[in-house]
Amino acid sequence: MKQEVKIKNKLGIHARAAMKIIDLAGRFQSKIDICYGGNCIDAKDILSVMSLAVPCGDDVVLVIDGVDEALAMKSLLNLIDDRFGEAE
């Protein structure tokens, strides 16, 4: 499954947000990639996610493949849509 999503929180994908992504992605069996600027990285690898540096307002594409892909996609989209639990 593939889905484009906008990063809405003010700080973008900073360290804390990256940790939340990895934490969530790690719960699913599916292969989860985040693609940004022509680069696709493994969402379960801390350093890879941290190195993305996606700022507020930019889009990323989630590419998820596996038995629990639908749930994984929904959960990650929720996390991002919820601004990683941040106020703004």
């Binding site: 700080l11 973008g12 360290a15 804390r16 801390i46 350093l47 941290m50 190195s51």
Partner: protein, 155 residues
């Protein structure tokens, strides 16, 4: 902003053999930062770093950790690199790999984009096993500084 822009020779400390806990490591980082920016007290830095750790360990795997915080009154972003003779427990959730190299990163309160770039740059560097090896092979602080600002191949 790149990692090498905010590193200075005085802020890399190699091969410490006295630090045995995460708190001691953060305390050392705080003192080093307070020493270079007179507007910032080491206790405030320590409290900020500890607060961030409570949200979740900043261990990133491979024996590295990147404790970080925003501090008001800070003149500019600072990065301290600390290497330890013996790895310590950094409360990481996964494999509990102990940490022996710590990048302490402080950014001014208002910083947003620059902060993101530095963390990203640190993460990119740490993905490179040659870079990680270079840091561990340093025998003194100067060598560690040279290894830290060294170039590597991004492909």
């Amino acid at each position: 902003m790149k990692l090498r822009d905010i590193l200075t020779p005085g802020l890399t400390l190699c091969c410490d053999d006295s630090i045995q806990t995460k708190k001691q490591a953060l305390h050392t980082i705080s003192t080093m930062i307070a020493d270079v920016d007179s507007r910032v007290k080491d206790k405030r830095v320590f409290d900020a770093l500890m607060k961030r750790e409570q949200l979740g360990s900043t261990a990133v795997g491979h024996g590295f950790a990147i404790p970080h915080a925003r501090i008001s009154d800070l003149r500019g972003a600072i990065c301290v690199i600390l290497s330890l003779k013996s790895p310590i427990n950094f409360d990481s959730d996964d494999n509990h790999q102990p940490v022996d190299v710590i990048f302490g990163l402080l950014v001014p309160e208002a910083a947003t984009g620059g902060h993101l770039e530095i963390l990203s740059d640190i993460a990119l560097h740490l993905k490179d096993s040659d870079y990680r090896q270079g840091l561990r092979m340093a025998l003194d602080s100067e060598q560690m500084y040279e290894a830290a600002i060294g170039d590597f191949d991004l492909d």
